[in-house]
């Protein structure tokens, strides 16, 4: 994920052409958890979903190589893709969860490009399902899920009934590597293709990005010798 980000010359966003895209690290953890639950026989099938242009099929293949059974690629490209935000994605996931009759929707807690931390919560709200966010431990107990959540105060343990939405936090697990033989096998697994319109989702964004700028360069600090110096400098630049 170490790429040098550049703001586009017209300040409408960042340059993404030619930049290597990969699976969001928290989503890798989510995929790993889903595959682990399947290996422990709590769930029968894992479906990997991604929304975006054709390149996202590579990311879906990685998920399939990690152990998912099939993939769904929701095609969003061009202007729709640039304007796509958590709300649109949440609507797509909610529609898919109902269509596929899912018992669990597992996502990463946030995407590291926008750091929104909204998609999981919005999906749960749209579906009116319980949510276990910032999960650092997930245990399935019959029809209920016990989730240990990482919160500012420490750890909170909750029990929610399925179907539910879970979002993965860093310490949930260590994702496995997608090995080459698995990538080769994943080429044979199916990835279904659909558009948001097929799910009855409108992609109109309620948010308009006005301008993107780089953070201002940090100015050098100045060391002062005495308190009087400090007061004088603060007065000089208008702070006091």
């Amino acid at each position: 994920y170490i790429v040098t980000i550049r703001v586009k010359p017209d300040h409408s966003g960042v340059v993404t052409d030619g930049v290597k895209h990969s699976m969001n690290p928290f989503c890798e953890i989510a995929v790993e958890e889903a595959v682990k639950l399947k290996e422990k026989k709590f769930i029968k099938e894992v479906v990997a979903v991604s929304c975006g242009p054709t390149q996202v099929t590579e990311t879906i293949r990685t998920a399939l190589a990690m152990g998912c059974d099939r993939g769904i690629h929701v095609e969003v490209s061009g202007k729709d893709y640039e304007a796509m935000g958590p709300l649109q994605i949440a609507k797509i996931f909610a529609a898919l969860a109902k269509k596929e009759e899912a018992s669990l929707v597992i996502l990463g807690k946030q995407a590291i490009d926008d750091d929104c931390n909204q998609t999981g919560q919005m999906t749960a709200a749209l579906l009116d399902w319980p949510q276990g966010t910032f999960a650092s431990e997930v245990t399935i107990d019959g029809e209920k899920v016990k989730v240990v959540r990482e919160i500012d105060g420490g750890l909170e343990t909750i029990k929610i009934s399925m179907p539910a939405v879970l979002t993965a936090d860093l310490r949930l697990n260590t994702p496995r590597y997608a090995t080459l033989p698995n990538i080769m096998k994943a080429k044979k697994k199916k990835i279904a293709n659909m558009k948001p319109a097929d799910l009855g989702v409108d992609m109109v964004s309620r948010v308009e990005v006005l301008r993107v700028d780089e953070p201002p360069t940090r100015l050098a600090g100045v060391k002062v010798e005495t308190v009087d110096d400090l007061v004088a400098k603060l007065k000089a630049n208008g702070t006091i």
């Binding site: 170490i2 040098t4 030619g18 994702p175 590597y177 080459l180 080769m184």
Partner: protein
């Protein structure tokens, strides 16, 4: 251990002395030896399994080491111009003749083009042969060369040199390209033709049949911890078997290094000599932008006996972008020379600074390149495989172009392989096919003619007048006589043997980076986007952990801390006791291979790290 003839007398004495001196008593007349070094406890640096085999390591007992294997017709190592051209040509032939062929290509970068770095002025000759309709297919050749300048720089002034037609540097008809984008486009063409491309998987091991021929390659293992022990997520790499394996790892490939020894491919050629190229991309002030302009210079800041020069190309891709860089021959003798800092210093020359003023640097990278040419070409075929591209080294040094010859070598390899690999009965003596027709095709092609004509230009620099002698030689023998002189000059020998001991040389005073035109090393490394999984054994392996301090630091003042363009090697004071130790910051590595080439002790062996690690170049 070390071939005796390749090392200076002093180095030989040191190496012999090292084996006998265990305690602090060093014969003082031979080298400056810090008394406390050998008695202090050095933390272990190398933990890679190529140095410490796992079958003798108790931590690996019981770990499943079986590998999954798959068969292809042809396996290609390396997704650069040579590898991709070979793959494309194979699939084109298969389509023409309606035959089935499974071609698999493995590439260590996370995506095709991410480890590609070059100037670059592309001569479209090979591309015209591969895809005559490249323009319709959208190849990113957007900047035809319009202006060609050559200068000799002094500290303040510039002496223009006329770029007469017929001189090797003349660029009429060529295109300035961002090679990373071009390679990415080649990758897309290859995938469309059905080549199986696997980026993010490095070829870590060559596999052999029982009869000694090459069986294929194995990709890297993942999930080994920094100390060499297996992690929970440990997974063995995969084996890819093929009838023929093509090795297109680029300049100084690590598997090619093994193959040279295994099959004795270098017995009739000179040792390869190299240079390091550092490059930056800048967005400049629109008023200074001249799309299609090519500028080359020699001279300042290098002295006349250090081979090197600069390039500055104005690209035409929408925004006012220039690609600029500096090349330093790795046969330099002064261990205090830092190619990175020479590059940064060069940018302050008035002729260069006026283009860059007010601009922003957006990318940085570095890579070693071949300078040997004709004299250093090894045997390129062996049972079960062959070498293509910059790995054996087809670069035309005075033209500073190697992409067209690399592509052509890949195409010739494909044309030689195709009939053998699709034949009903391969009629081969060895299990892996030996196809010497490839070498014959090379010798009959324009690559050979081109390299032969320019073979004496680079070695002509080894005279008292250095650069100026070389330029006079080029003017007389190449421009007028077209390289037809009956003699072939020799290079100076192994690059690693050229360094003089530090006490015989003067340290170079480099100016501090000003943050506007010149920059410090670490911010440059950050721009390369390089990263590696932190918890893995350092891939810059040392055959002997004690040699860096004992030899490199003691005699040459640690040249690796200066020639590495990514700050991987640092000599830091020991935590307890006196003396220094070598710290290897493997995560910074940009895979340039300079350390493997220039290490005076030839103790550093670069091996491939976990796949998808390394730089993230975008169109460099």
């Amino acid at each position: 251990m070390f071939p005796a003839s390749r090392y200076s007398i002093q180095a030989q004495r040191c190496i012999r002395a090292l084996k006998t001196v265990q305690a602090e008593h060093a014969p003082p007349q031979h080298y400056t030896w810090r008394r406390n070094c050998s008695s202090a406890v050095m933390p272990r640096i190398t933990s890679h399994y190529t140095i410490f085999p796992r079958d003798k390591d108790p931590r690996w007992e019981g770990v499943e080491m079986e590998r999954f294997a798959d068969e292809a017709d042809v396996v290609i190592v390396g997704g650069g111009p040579a590898g991709l051209s070979a793959a494309i040509r194979l699939k084109q032939l298969a389509k023409e003749q309606e035959k089935e062929l499974r071609v698999c290509l493995v590439e260590k970068a996370s995506q095709i083009g991410a480890h590609t770095l070059s100037g670059a002025c592309l001569e479209p000759s090979a591309l015209n042969e591969l895809f005559p309709d490249w323009k319709e297919r959208g190849a990113p050749l957007n900047t035809p060369v319009t202006e060609d300048l050559f200068s000799i720089l002094t500290e303040k002034y510039r002496i223009p040199v006329p770029m007469l037609p017929g001189l090797p540097m003349n660029n009429h008809g060529n295109y300035i390209v961002r090679l990373g984008h071009f390679v990415h486009w080649l990758g897309e063409q290859a995938e469309e033709l059905g080549v199986e491309i696997y980026p993010g998987y490095a070829a870590a091991e060559v596999l052999f049949h029982e009869d000694g021929s090459v069986k294929g390659i194995a990709t890297n293992d993942v999930g080994i911890a920094k100390d060499g022990s297996p992690k929970d997520v440990f997974e063995r790499g995969m084996e890819l078997h093929a009838k023929v394996t093509l090795f297109g790892e680029g300049c100084h490939g690590h598997l090619a290094k093994q193959l040279y020894r295994q099959f004795n491919l270098r017995e009739n050629c000179e040792p390869q000599t190299y240079a390091i190229g550092l490059k930056e991309l800048w967005v400049i002030d629109e008023k200074k932008w001249r799309p299609g302009r090519v500028e080359h210079s020699v001279g300042w800041p290098l002295n006349r006996n250090t081979y090197g020069g600069s390039f500055l190309y104005h690209l035409n891709e929408g925004e006012p972008l220039v690609a600029l860089g500096f090349v330093v021959g790795l046969d330099y003798t002064n261990p205090y020379l830092s190619p990175f800092r020479e590059f940064q210093r060069w940018k302050h020359h008035p002729f260069v600074a006026k283009t860059l003023e007010g601009g922003d640097r957006i990318a940085y990278g570095a890579r070693a390149l071949n300078e040997g040419g004709y004299q250093c070409l090894p045997k390129v075929t062996f049972p079960g495989g062959m070498l293509i591209g910059c790995s054996p080294g087809f670069m035309n040094v005075p033209k500073i172009k190697g992409t067209h010859t690399a592509m052509k070598s890949g195409m010739l390899a494909a044309e030689a392989i195709f009939p053998k690999v699709t034949a009903e009965d391969p009629a081969s003596e060895t299990a892996g096919l030996h196809i010497p027709e490839y070498e014959d095709n090379l010798k009959k092609s324009w690559i050979w003619k081109e390299l032969y004509a320019v073979r004496n230009i680079r070695p002509s620099f080894h005279n008292y007048f250095g650069l100026y002698g070389g330029m006079v030689y080029t003017g007389v023998f190449y421009w007028i006589l077209r390289g037809k002189e009956p003699w072939t000059l020799k290079h100076a020998g192994l690059d690693s043997a050229q360094l003089k001991p530090a006490k015989e040389c003067t340290p170079i005073e480099y100016p501090k980076p000003d943050g506007k035109l010149s920059f410090d090393l670490l911010s440059s490394v950050a721009l390369s986007g390089t990263n590696h999984e932190g918890d893995q054994p350092p891939h810059l392996t040392l055959k002997d952990d004690s040699i860096p301090v004992a030899n490199n630091l003691a005699i040459y003042d640690g040249p690796e801390q200066r020639f590495c363009p990514a700050g991987v090697y640092e000599y830091v004071p020991l935590e307890t006791g006196e003396g220094m130790r070598l710290q290897i910051n493997a995560q910074n590595c940009v895979h340039c291979k300079t350390c493997d080439i220039k290490d005076p002790s030839q103790n550093i062996n670069w091996v491939v790290p976990e796949g998808s690690g390394g730089p993230a170049y975008n169109g460099l």
